[in-house]
Symmetry: C2
Subunit: 597 residues, 2 copies
């Protein structure tokens, strides 16, 4: 997309009210945007498609949790301590910047103009690593490449700024709370209830679509970096990374662009076209469930109108991974502003369930029943109180507990010590073998208790909408003033328009009836009874990406047919009014326009 | 609904995860609830139905605004000063109560036990007026009827507690903001852009579905009084109250229960069954647009499963109206806990647009073009500078501006003064007639500038969901353990289930295929391959209100048909697998089960 097209896109988005700055009449607030009617309908269609593609198709459990989150939950999850971006301040003006963004901006410019290819390469490798870098490394990069504020002034050392919005709940204002920075935590809160509904079988998944809030330091980049945004997240709980994925076959043959950690560290910007099957075999993607959601996401994005040639999967570098995460892939899309993350798929390990279990004392584990019981040698131990009481006096009871509550590993060690020395050590004290009755017996083990590992596909709804807008926008050939969105009919904000060839009462009456009938059938349908030429009306509908326009003319009054026009091909076909609803519904669900008769 | 049924309902809602207390593993937070899978899907279906019934059918402009609202917006709207509930404190324990709720609770008990019919009547009238009462009147009622804290202690005088959650935006934490207490304000922010998209014609409407937040003092009543909730609101802008409503015919013949202000003040609890047409003619409902949305709301609620016999329209008492509101009707539904507001329809006059226009200096008016220009006598005035300069010296310019910018009313007054005295008064000074050239001429007036009046239907999504749950819940005859939700298929969280008659591999293979096929078609479909009896499986599906169950048996392997069972009638019919998708879709869209063949 060139600069001029980008400007025309932005103009169209505001002028036709896809989107508007929030509180515009009050001068606006950085990082807050409202969706207008076209934007809202696209969002709605996108969410419906997502729900069908993930929730319905894979029978996920969808939940709806609150935006308000009490402090203790986010202390446990680590957000209160660590959910921060590095901030730098212009030492002269006090202006705040997000460290990674200002470095990226300036480094990109340096890369573009640098002649020395080895230096250029060094800069590119630095560029690839900035995201998620710690304070020290960030400061080093700032110094090395001489990063300054936008005004050219010196910058402070980077320091963390917590991105959560704070508030308090209740009349006493003593219950600190935050607006959720991600929807995921609400899902973990409901793990137990979800697991029950899944009849306590793994794998199972819980999904949530909802608003999240991040108090961005200095949001720019319009719709791509905002302070209030919508996520669609899945937490998919699996037994272990070896567990097979039931539907993996559905995605194995997909060919996708991978940009692995190795590639990022070794060269510039190359991605590799590879099937998911090969990527799994070559261990580039670490396991099946991760691969499944990567493939499923690719299918989803392309089905809603993201350009397949502009999608890449970028693996997180080891340093960028959250300390609990095992592997993580961003799905980046190529936009005017460069490659931009719009989905992330992370293997979060068992971290979240474990920390919340620890903080609450609640059991958030799953009992995995074996297909058949496993025979296993197991130690049982009993303290011999007569001997213990005599030797250890008041401490006897305490040693009894220690002996009888020890682990299988401890018993194995104790057995070994007794075999070798006739004594054993427990709680730091040396006891004689007469104090314990230790036996080994074969038992049937029916299963084991584990904390499930979780795979998290996380979608930024607003970013996907923006990507669709950029990838759908074009200008009619030979007419730069005439802009069109080539939304696919499923995503198009309004499905059709009905107009009269000329604004005459006898035609408008029929037009009005058809509109009312279509709307009653749930088809969002626009009209236009203004006095302008029909070509101008077509252009108005093109601007908001309406895929089909039915025109009522004088023949309609005779034979009850209308002309149906397709947006991109501009092909027209004559159809019966009585069949219009059915035809439109078929078109929305994927029937090619050529098949309309 | 009796007490036992209510207990069983609550049990079913939690056990089958329609809903759960938020942060339950952390002990929960009063007034916050999560929706589980069944609740989330009902919500989704309800919102879709709402969108079709209001947004698509009436071509409203739907927007999506932010939850974060900067302080100045809510100062202008009056929320910072006035969006409060009256709070009382137990003077001994410090426990906080919402004044109106604690009075209502205790007054209701007194009414129930009071023998003296005149005193009882007095209490009932007081009860009807509590909602929205001011501090003084509330305190009088507290004293008169001896209202105490739950612990029986004395209560403080009532004082206002602002219900908005406060936070701040940006790294400096100097930009105070609130979480929106209603979605309406976001709509007013976008009035101008919406009006443009409506091609500057009145009436037009903007809708929004979104989360709102109220820091309730002491939320009880489970799902009905929560701190974070979803609203669906419409702001419908009209030219004036005489403007005709285009679709009024659609609702005129509806017979509804009205509980007018007059009735509330004159007697106990009587409502009147009346058609919307008669209510309009008798001026009980003050104008057509208000009446239209009342009727449209009644149609909506009954279409999603609210019991028509348990709906009433309660008019706000003059004292309960916000100072800017002209007329307001609550739609109450009868629940276990009594009549409960689930929708409000208010005539907010031009208040909101006017205050935001004043606060921002932005023009939020509409120019109403007359059908034909109107001829009107109009004054024009010019200052005579020669005379002015001589007499008024330095002040001459200032008087020139005052003379030439005066209103038509001023000119009429000036003309009158000149006619009577030869002098006129402007800006507090007396000027002679020689200083002004005042002329009267006939001009063509093409229209006028007005601030539109707004009608606001406001729906509490959570409350409607809860009403549907209560109104749909029943127990199978002769089996009190077997609970059912008779959701209509459009609202039902899951549309169907497919199971095998017995859990055998050859049957399960077919069952699995059908499930996959239905899910792919976007039909949410449950399975159950556990080892329990089929009757138990039916019961499990009844508990979450699944309307249709298809059963695969050995005949299926021969003739590719399954048995389809309807939930409430328990009728069964044999259908072809290939036709299943089409049949289910027709049933969801309203086809009676008897027509399945």
């Amino acid at each position: 997309m060139d600069k001029q097209t980008k400007a025309q896109l932005e103009n169209a988005l505001i002028r036709r009210f896809f989107v508007a700055p929030s509180f515009e009449i009050y001068g606006g607030i950085a990082g807050l945007f409202d969706l207008g009617p076209a934007g809202t309908q696209i969002r709605q269609n996108l969410i419906s498609a997502w729900r069908n593609h993930f929730v319905v198709a894979d029978d996920l459990l969808e939940v709806q949790c609150t935006c308000l989150v009490p402090e203790q939950v986010l202390v446990a999850s680590g957000h209160v301590a660590k959910f921060a971006d590095l901030m730098v301040k212009d030492v002269k003006t006090g202006e705040c910047f997000r460290a990674d963004k200002i470095i990226e901006d300036q480094l990109q410019k340096k890369i573009d103009t640098e002649k020395d290819s080895s230096l250029k390469n060094e800069m590119q490798i630095a560029f690839n690593q900035i995201d998620g870098m710690n304070e020290t490394d960030t400061y080093q990069i700032m110094k090395k490449f001489n990063i300054t504020s936008d005004a050219g002034n010196e910058l402070s050392q980077p320091f963390p700024f917590n991105l959560m919005f704070q508030t308090s709940i209740g009349p006493s204002s003593q219950s600190k709370a935050y607006l959720r920075p991600e929807t995921a935590q609400g899902i973990f809160m409901n793990f137990k209830r979800g697991f029950e509904q899944a009849r306590q079988q793994l794998p199972f998944g819980i999904a949530q679509i909802g608003t999240a809030f991040r108090n961005e330091i200095a949001p720019r980049n319009g719709l791509l970096r905002v302070r209030e945004f919508e996520q669609a997240e899945i937490e998919y709980f699996i037994q272990n990374r070896e567990q097979k994925c039931k539907h993996i076959e559905d995605v194995l043959d997909l060919k996708v662009n991978l940009f692995s950690a190795d590639q990022q560290l070794s060269n510039h910007q190359m991605t590799e076209q590879i099937t998911i099957k090969d990527a799994l075999q070559q261990k580039i993607i670490s396991h099946e469930h991760l691969a499944y959601f990567m493939g499923k996401t690719y299918q989803f994005l392309t089905s809603v109108g993201v350009d397949p040639a502009k999608i890449r999967f970028r693996q997180h570098l080891p340093k960028q991974l959250a300390h609990y995460a095992k592997d993580c892939w961003d799905i980046d899309c190529l936009l005017y502003c460069g490659w931009t993350e719009i989905v992330g798929i992370a293997d979060r390990s068992a971290y979240d369930l474990q920390v919340h279990s620890k903080a609450t004392g609640q059991d958030l584990s799953a009992f995995i029943k074996y297909d058949a019981p496993v025979q296993k040698e197991v130690y049982t131990a009993k303290a011999v109180m007569k001997v213990l009481a005599k030797e250890m006096k008041q401490q006897a009871q305490q040693f009894k507990v220690a002996i009888e509550a020890a682990s299988q590993e401890d018993y194995a060690r104790i057995q070994k010590e007794i075999d070798e020395t006739g004594k054993f050590i427990i709680n730091g004290a040396e006891l004689s073998k007469e104090m314990i009755q230790l036996q080994k017996a074969v038992q049937s083990i029916h299963g084991e208790t584990i904390t499930p590992i979780v795979i998290e596909p996380s979608f930024g709804i607003g970013r996907i909408i923006y990507t669709i807008l950029e990838h759908s926008f074009y200008m009619r050939e030979n007419d730069e003033q005439r802009t069109v969105f080539k939304f696919n009919p499923l995503i198009a904000p309004f499905k059709m328009a009905v107009i009269s060839l000329m604004v005459k009462d006898e035609l408008e009456a029929v037009t009005g009836q058809i509109i009312k009938q279509m709307r009653k059938a749930g088809v969002s349908c626009k009209g236009d009874d203004s006095g302008v030429q029909i070509g101008k009306k077509y252009a108005r509908f093109d601007e908001i990406g309406i895929p089909y326009i039915a025109t009522v003319d004088y023949d309609t009054l005779k034979d009850e047919t209308v002309t149906l026009r397709e947006r991109d091909s501009m092909k027209q076909v004559r159809v019966k009014i009585t069949e219009l609803e059915q035809i439109i519904n078929k078109l929305i669900n994927g029937m090619p326009f050529e098949e309309v008769k």
